[in-house]
Symmetry: C2
Subunit: 343 residues, 2 copies
C-alpha cells in the first residue's frame, strides 16, 4: 500500500509502453489513441497513481499557484476577496498560496520573496505601505515579468493591473443620501494616513456637500485610525466642544460604531438627532441597533475580478499587455441608522 510512490514510469512499465506515452495519455494529448488512453487511465487508477505537480511545474516553468498577500486574512473584507480569487482560480486548476503582511512592510517583503521562491505564477495583493519606497518590491515583481494584480489599496505608480471600487462614488452616494434625509451638518471620519481610498472617500463627501450647496466645515472632519476607539474619541471631542451636527459619514464601519455607542450613551436618538452611515458593509452592520447604513464594496466580486485580470495577463504571454484597471460600482445599503421617518 504505502510502498513507493507510483510514477508514470511504473505505469509505463506495467503496460509495456514508454513514459512519454503515459505522460501524453494522462494529459489527453490528441496524438494518442483512445485505446491507449483508456488503458493508461485504468492502470493509473489501479496503481493509485498521484500526479506530481512539482515535477510538472519544474519542467514547464509553471506552478499553477497564485500567491496572495493581504494585511490579515481574518478580516472579513480580505477573506472574502480571497474567497473570490480562490473560486475562479479553482475552475482553472490553480491553487492559492495565502500570506499575511500583518500591516508591516518588512513582512510584506518577506512574503513576496517567499512566494517568488515558491515559484508562484503571479501575485495578487493589497498594499500595506503608502510611500513609493514602500512598494519597490512590487515594482521588482512587475519588472521581472511576474503577473501582478493589485486590489483595494493600490497605486498607479507601478505599471500594473488593479481592481478597485469607486470609493469616490460610494462616499458621494452616502453623503447625498444623508443630505436627502435632511442632514446639513455632516461629520466625516477619515484616516490620518493619506491613503488613496480614504482620499477618494473624503473627496466624495466634499463634492456631495458642494453640489448641494452645503457649507463645508473643516472642523467636522475627524482624522484618526478608523477603529472603534477613534470613533468614540472623535464624537466625544465634538460633543465636548459643543459642535452641532446631525449626521456622521464614516469611511469605516468600525469608527462609526464608536460614534453609535457614545451617542446612545448620551441618549441621542439615531437617526432622528444624528444619522449614521459607515463604509464597507462589515458583517456586523446588519446586527447593530439600529442596523447601520453602509456601502457595500462587493469583496467577493473584487476577488473574482482580480483573478480574471490575473489570468488575462498570464494568457497574454509575452506580448506587453497594457495594465488594466477594473473599477467596480459600490452599493449604498440603506438601513435604519440613517432613515428618518417620513422619508
Amino acid at each position: 500500500m504505502s510502498s513507493k510512490k507510483t510514477t508514470i514510469h511504473d505505469i509505463a512499465e506495467k503496460l509495456g509502453i514508454t513514459a512519454s506515452t503515459v505522460s501524453r495519455a494522462l494529459n489527453n494529448n490528441p496524438r494518442i489513441s483512445e485505446a491507449t488512453k483508456k488503458t493508461v487511465l485504468q492502470m493509473a487508477n489501479d496503481l493509485n497513481y498521484q500526479p506530481n505537480n512539482l515535477a510538472a511545474a519544474l519542467r514547464k516553468g509553471k506552478s499553477q499557484l497564485i500567491g496572495i498577500v493581504v494585511p490579515r486574512i481574518n478580516r472579513s473584507f480580505f477573506s472574502a476577496v480571497v474567497r473570490g480569487i480562490e473560486e475562479v482560480a479553482n475552475t482553472l486548476d490553480y491553487r492559492v498560496v495565502v500570506s499575511q503582511s500583518s500591516e508591516t512592510v518588512e513582512n510584506e517583503i518577506a512574503a513576496v520573496n517567499a512566494l517568488l521562491n515558491a515559484r508562484v505564477d503571479g501575485i495578487i495583493a493589497s498594499l500595506v505601505g503608502e510611500k513609493p519606497e514602500d512598494y519597490v518590491h512590487y515594482e521588482n515583481v512587475a519588472k521581472k515579468g511576474v503577473p501582478l494584480v493589485l486590489f483595494d489599496r493600490t497605486t498607479n505608480e507601478i505599471g500594473t493591473s488593479q481592481v478597485v471600487i469607486d470609493d469616490y462614488l460610494g462616499a458621494y452616494m452616502a453623503t447625498e443620501h444623508l443630505i436627502e434625509q435632511g442632514c446639513k451638518k455632516i461629520v466625516h471620519f477619515t484616516h490620518h494616513r493619506r491613503v488613496n481610498i480614504y482620499k477618494e472617500r473624503y473627496r466624495g463627501y466634499f463634492e456631495a456637500l458642494k453640489n448641494y450647496d452645503i457649507a463645508f466645515d473643516e472642523s467636522l472632519v475627524c482624522e484618526g485610525n478608523m477603529q472603534l476607539e477613534d470613533g468614540r474619541n472623535a464624537i466625544e471631542q465634538l460633543l465636548k466642544a459643543g459642535k452641532e451636527f446631525d449626521a456622521v459619514f464614516s469611511a469605516s464601519d468600525y469608527a462609526v460604531m464608536g460614534a453609535m455607542q457614545v451617542l446612545k450613551e448620551k441618549k441621542k436618538k439615531i437617526p432622528e438627532e444624528v444619522a449614521l452611515v459607515g463604509f464597507s458593509n462589515e458583517p456586523f452592520t446588519s446586527f447593530t441597533d439600529p442596523p447601520l447604513t453602509t456601502v457595500n464594496q462587493f469583496p467577493i466580486e473584487i476577488g473574482q475580478a482580480a483573478a480574471e485580470l490575473f489570468f488575462e495577463i498570464l494568457n497574454s504571454k509575452k506580448e506587453k499587455l497594457i495594465p488594466q484597471k477594473t473599477v467596480l460600482q459600490p452599493e449604498l445599503i440603506v438601513r435604519a441608522s440613517s432613515l428618518k421617518k417620513g422619508n
Copy 2:
C-alpha cells in the same frame, strides 16, 4: 535584467566553483568555509538570484507547503484559524495553500486531491461531512502517511491528530451562567444535523440543568440550521405556543441574533425578561444591543495548535506517532445580554 533566470550554476560558473558548493553555501552548510559562503552570497545577490523551491522540493520530496481545507474562508472562525496556522507555518518557512470545500463533500474530495497533486507536505482540515463514508478521502490521506490534522469538525474514526475546544464545557459554563442569573426555563438552539460539536453543546446544556436540579423540558429544545432565520422562527414558534422561558442558550451566535430581533420586536426586555447567550464569539457580538454574551473558541489558538501538531507529526518522521488530541478550553464572555442587574 529580465534575461534568463539565474541558477546556482550561473553563480558557480562566475565564481569558478561547482554548483554543489554554491548549493551548500546557500543552505548555510557547516562544511563550507565562511569565506566562500560570503562570496557566494554576494554573487547571488549581484546576479539577482532567486531560489527555485520547486526544484528543491522535487529533489527533497518536501514542498514546504501545508494544505488547508475549510468550508469557506470568509467565515470569521475559519479565517482566524487560517491566520493562526499561517503565523506558525511562516516562522518555519512553510507556506499555506488554502482550499474551500464550500460545504460539499465533492468539493472537499477535489480539494484534497488537488492538494495532494500539489505535493503539500500535509493537510490541516475541518470536515464537512458527518457520515463515515463522507471522509474516506481523508482516511486515504492518513493511510498514505501524509500528515493530517483535523480541527473543529473532527472525527475519531480516522486515527489522526485533532484539535478541538471543549464544547461540552463551553456549553456547561454558558448554561450555568444563565442559571446563576436566576433563569429557570432555558431554551436551547441546536443543530438538526447530529454533528459532534452540537451534540457536545447539547450535552453541556443538559448536564448543567441536571446538576442544578432544573427540570429538563424537551419542548424548549429547538432544532434548526443555526442561521438567523432559524432563530427567528424558533422564538416565534415558542411565543405563539405560549411557552414560558426566561433565557436562550444558542449553540450559534447567528441563531440567537434572530431571537434577539424577535424579542425586541415584541418589546421583551433583554436580559430582564429573557437572557441571551450565544456561541462562537463572532465579531458582531460585541456590537449588538445589548452586547451578546457568548463563548470564545479561540480560533487563532486553534490554528496555532493545529500547526504545532502538524509539525510534530512531520518531524516524527516514520516512527508511528500516536494521534494526539489537543483540547482547548473555551471562555465564557459575559456581556449585557445575560447580565441581570444586581448580579
